[in-house]
Each structure stands twice: as structure tokens, then as C-alpha cells.
């Protein structure tokens, strides 16, 4: 380029000291960009393929007994070929709500303690312990629930102790790390100035927490709880071990119920025909629930940003 005759009078062209990007450098940049694009696409493609797969396999259930009979059918019985998932949906709902009622306050309290009250030394012990909860395999939770918790619940409610209460308590502990970690992040990202301002106004630590910090972090906390809810809806192994797995309507805290996930895992090994199709249909429902929850998080976060 420097050999070209200088016909133009623009000084920048004739006397540029900026190095030009070499061809190899350009190629490398482009390759990297495409590589990352590929990674992102792979994730999206994975989700899409799974949805497509379960959707195709589950589709006939909407045609044969029909969507209404599937979603709102009150009887789940493979021997009589009745596949209404309403009892399973209610089971999932009861256990999830129970887990949230027990687990969310515990988790938010833990996060407040870690973020606002604990000394650095205490924090350095408690935080890894909470994070460890997330790393415990769910079968271990189930085992704990089965051996330790179930007898206690059996004493409380009568019966064998298999049921929504046992499952909800186990799930409550399992969702604590999810909610606590995200809530602590939300509290940590509150502008530091307002914490100081609150104390300077003569607010006590408690007043600062519940009048200033929790409202300021509320969106993040709601997101955290919704994600915890997603975890509770999807959890399978621990629930299978303690819920009792009777596909019947909720009859009491100590009476066996089944959930969408546990019914799939129990029946999948032997189900065939319409039964199998129904299980795929349930997978689609679970898929839609978690998509709905993620969408909800998005909507809440965006609304906060605007207002």
C-alpha cells in the first residue's frame, strides 16, 4: 500500500503509522468468533432437539385420549389404560409449594446472615457448608429422608411416613443452596451507599435489612426463589424414595403421592404403547413448566430494569 502513488491529499493515508491487521490475525479472530458461536448454538440446538424428541414421542397422547383427558384426567392407572395426570400434577404442586414454604425463608435467612451479619470467620465456615449442600447427590438426600426423616414423620402423621411432608422437607433442604447463593449475590449487588445511608439514618441492623436491603434486592430474591422452584419441580430421585409413589390425589401430609418426575422414572422401564406415550407427554409438560419459570424470571428482571 505504501508503494501506491500518492494521488490523494489526505494525510492520514500517506503517513499512517498504524499497523495493519495481518491476514493470519484476521483469520484467527474470525475462527475464534465462529468457535464461540458454535458453542452457543450447540447449547440451543441441544435444548431444541430434546424438546423436539419428547414432543414427537408424546404427541399421540394429545390425539388419542385428547389433551383434556390427559391434563385433567383424574385417574392414572396403567392396568386400565387410563392416563390422566392431574393427580401427579397436584402431587408435584403440593410438594413444590411445601418445599418453598419451608426452604425459601430458611435460604433467604441464611443469605441475610452470610451477607449482613456473619463475621468473616463465621462466613468462611458457613458459606462452603451451604455450597456443599448443592454438591450432595440427591440419592443421598433420599436415603437420609428414608432412614432418618420418614420414621419421625410417621410418628407425627401416622401411616408409614411416605408422603408430601417428607418429600417437601427433603426438597426444602435441597433448594437452600440455590436460593441462598443467588439471594446472597442479590444482596451483595445492592449499591453499597444505601447500606451506609441506612445506618447513618439511625436504622438498626434489622431495620436496614428489612426496610432497605431486602426491598432493594427483592427482584434478585424472587428470581432466586423461582429458580429454586424449578429445582424442586424437577427433582426426581430423592422424591421417588420418600413420596410413596401412589398416583392418587393429595389426601394428607402423610399419605403417599406421586409426582410427574417420579412417575416417569418408575414407569419408564416397563411402559409401552399409550402408557409410554403418556410419559413423554409428561416430559413435555415438565419442559413447559421450566420454560415458563425461566420466562417468569426474565419478565420480572426486565420489568424492574424499566421501572
Amino acid at each position: 500500500m505504501a508503494d501506491e502513488p500518492m494521488t490523494t491529499s489526505t494525510p492520514s493515508e500517506s503517513k499512517s503509522t498504524l499497523k495493519l491487521m495481518s491476514k493470519s490475525m484476521y483469520a484467527k479472530e474470525a475462527a475464534l468468533r465462529n468457535l464461540f458461536l458454535l458453542c452457543a448454538t450447540a447449547a440451543v440446538a441441544g435444548v431444541a432437539l430434546i424438546f423436539l424428541f419428547v414432543g414427537v414421542r408424546g404427541w399421540p397422547i394429545i390425539q388419542d385420549p385428547g389433551l383434556g383427558a390427559f391434563l385433567f384426567g383424574k385417574v392414572w392407572s396403567s392396568s386400565t389404560d387410563q392416563f390422566g395426570i392431574l393427580p401427579l400434577v397436584t402431587g408435584t404442586l403440593v410438594i413444590t409449594i411445601g418445599a418453598l414454604l419451608l426452604g425459601a425463608p430458611l435460604a433467604v435467612g441464611t443469605a441475610v446472615f452470610l451477607s449482613e451479619i456473619a463475621s468473616p470467620r463465621v462466613r468462611s465456615v458457613v458459606r462452603p457448608a451451604v455450597e456443599l449442600l448443592a454438591g450432595v447427590p440427591s440419592v443421598v438426600y433420599g436415603f437420609f429422608g428414608l432412614i432418618i426423616l420418614r420414621p419421625i414423620i410417621a410418628n407425627l402423621t401416622g401411616g408409614l411416613g411416605f408422603g408430601p411432608l417428607t418429600a417437601a422437607i427433603i426438597l426444602a433442604v435441597m433448594i437452600v443452596p440455590t436460593i441462598a447463593t443467588l439471594t446472597e449475590d442479590a444482596l451483595g449487588s445492592v449499591v453499597p451507599g444505601i447500606r451506609e445511608a441506612s445506618y447513618a439514618m439511625g436504622a438498626t441492623t434489622w431495620q436496614t435489612i428489612y426496610k432497605v436491603l431486602l426491598p432493594a434486592a427483592s427482584v434478585g430474591i424472587i428470581d432466586a426463589i423461582i429458580l429454586g422452584m424449578g429445582r424442586a419441580v424437577g427433582e426426581t430421585m430423592a422424591v421417588v424414595m420418600v413420596a410413596g409413589n401412589a398416583p392418587q390425589f393429595f389426601q394428607g401430609l402423610g399419605e403417599p403421592v406421586s409426582t410427574l418426575t417420579s412417575q416417569i422414572v418408575i414407569d419408564m422401564s416397563y411402559a409401552s404403547g399409550t402408557h409410554r406415550t403418556a410419559l413423554f407427554g409428561m416430559a413435555v409438560i415438565l419442559f413447559l413448566i421450566s420454560m415458563g419459570l425461566v420466562a417468569l424470571v426474565r419478565v420480572i428482571s426486565n420489568r424492574k430494569k424499566e421501572g
Binding site: S119, P120, V191, G193, I194, E196, A197, S198, Y199, A200, M201, G202, A203, T204, Q207, K211, V212, P215, A216, G307
Partner: protein, 272 residues
């Protein structure tokens, strides 16, 4: 000698007693001593300015008056600070109660992420004021005293963070005024806002100082000269050494005939 267009007014209306008396104050961050041997009497009403180079302990000293330093683990105060004759570091004194009497404005405007109304009502609500008419009145009066009422009276339910930086700072002042403090600490309140707003806040200080004792930390010497009645000059002579108060006196004297060579060097711009 630098000539500052100082409008340093003599307050001849009534004699001013000491509002805050500090005696032999040492301050430590852990093992590091940040301040040493400070003894000073800060007069009631009026404005006292703390000036000095960065890192000379002005803000640290200011934060002793409402015990904000208590929130930093490992800090220690030796010596006494009397507010209205009472030792605020005496055992058993509740820093929370102290902070209701000693308000504070920070460098970065820090309204709460709630409505303008709720920001101002925050302090009174802490005190247990719950009746709406009473709160309404406090909010209006406080915003008026902070010269913000006219700008926000139509938009009280709007978020405090939607205001401009200068308005946010006046909102913070209104929030402090709502609890009727008799001391207001201002930690570089104008360094993060635009010049027009600075003017408004300086005017405001001038109005408030008839009733409230104001202490302002500032890097801006012209501002100190403009707004203050007394000035204290702080200096940390060597890194790692504790800072001390070099000179304290009437602002007019500090800026026209400082007694200490180091004060003169600083205000004439020889360092810092």
C-alpha cells in the same frame, strides 16, 4: 498569599458555644494509627470545614462524630468526643440513637431505591411516625428546607433514583432533615455533582447553618472559604504515619494569615 474571594461572614448574632468537643483523639484501623492527638472544639450552628490532602484522615475524623467507623471491624477510638457535653463513646451509648441526632451526607448521592416520598419518610418512620398526615407534613417541610419541594412535589411517588445527581443529593439532605438532627456531617457532598447543583447545595448550607451545626469535608478550598465559618487543616506528613490536625481557626484567618507554615503551603497550592 492566595486571595480567595471569600465571603466569610462574622456571626455576631449570638455567642456560639462548643457543640462538639474533641480531646486527645487517636484513631486506629487495626494496627494502623490514622489520627493522632486531635483536640478541637466545634462551635454550634455555623459551618466548620475540614480541609487537607487526600488520605489525611478528614473523613475518618468526620465519621467519628456519628460512630460510622463502628461499622468497620477493627477500628478503635482513644480520647473523648463530647456532643452537647456527653461522651458519645462512653460505654453503653447507643450509636443508633446518636446517628438520629447526627445526620450524614455522603460523597455519592445515595437515595434508597424507593419513592421520593418514602426516602424522606424513612427516618420519621424509624422513629415510629405512622400517621399519614403527619408524615405528609414532615415530607413537605423537609423537602422545602432542602430546596427540592418545588421540583418534586408533583412526582413524589416516583423513584428517588430517577432524579438528577444534584437533586438526589438534595433528596438525601431532605431525608436527613426529616429527623431534625442538630448536627449534619457532609463528606465531600459536592464532588460528584454538577456545578449548578453545587451552588444550590452551598446556598442550602447557608440557610441551614442558623439552626444546624454543619461539618463539611471538602477537597475544594474555594468551597471551604465560601461556606465555612471555621476551618480545620489536616495533614499526614509521611505515609504510614498518623495524620494530625495542623491548624484550626476562623476561616478568614486560616485563609489569609495561617499560623502554620504547612497550612500556608497547602492553601497556596504548594502541595496536595
Amino acid at each position: 498569599m492566595m486571595h480567595v474571594s471569600a465571603d466569610v461572614r462574622e456571626d455576631t448574632t449570638r455567642p456560639r458555644a462548643d457543640k462538639i468537643s474533641v480531646k486527645d483523639l487517636d484513631f486506629y484501623y487495626g494496627d494502623f494509627q490514622a489520627l493522632t492527638g486531635i483536640t478541637v472544639g466545634i462551635k454550634e450552628r455555623g459551618v466548620t470545614a475540614f480541609i487537607g490532602p487526600s488520605g489525611c484522615g478528614k473523613s475518618t475524623f468526620l465519621r467519628c462524630f456519628n460512630r460510622m467507623n463502628d461499622l468497620i471491624p477493627g477500628t478503635k477510638v482513644d480520647g473523648t468526643i463530647l456532643v452537647d457535653g456527653e461522651d458519645i463513646y462512653a460505654p453503653g451509648v447507643d450509636p443508633v440513637d446518636l446517628r438520629r441526632r447526627v445526620g450524614m451526607i455522603f460523597q455519592q448521592p445515595n437515595p434508597f431505591p424507593m419513592s421520593i416520598y418514602d426516602n424522606v419518610a424513612f427516618g420519621p418512620r424509624l422513629h415510629g411516625v405512622t400517621k399519614k398526615p403527619e408524615l405528609d407534613e414532615i415530607v413537605e417541610r423537609s423537602l422545602e428546607r432542602a430546596n427540592l419541594w418545588k421540583e418534586v412535589k408533583e412526582i413524589l411517588p416516583r423513584g428517588g433514583l430517577t432524579l438528577s445527581g444534584g437533586q438526589q443529593q438534595r433528596l438525601c439532605i431532605a431525608r436527613v432533615l426529616a429527623v431534625e438532627p442538630d448536627i449534619m456531617l457532609m463528606d465531600e457532598p459536592c464532588s460528584a455533582i454538577d456545578p449548578t447543583s453545587v451552588q444550590k447545595i452551598e446556598d442550602l448550607m447557608d440557610e441551614l447553618k442558623d439552626r444546624i451545626t454543619i461539618i463539611i469535608v471538602t477537597h475544594n478550598m474555594q468551597q471551604a472559604a465560601r461556606v465555612s465559618d471555621e476551618t480545620a487543616f489536616f495533614l499526614q506528613e509521611k505515609t504510614g504515619q498518623p495524620a494530625e490536625m495542623v491548624e484550626f481557626g476562623r476561616t478568614a484567618e486560616i485563609f489569609t494569615s495561617p499560623k502554620d507554615r504547612r497550612t500556608e503551603d497547602y492553601i497556596t497550592g504548594r502541595f496536595g
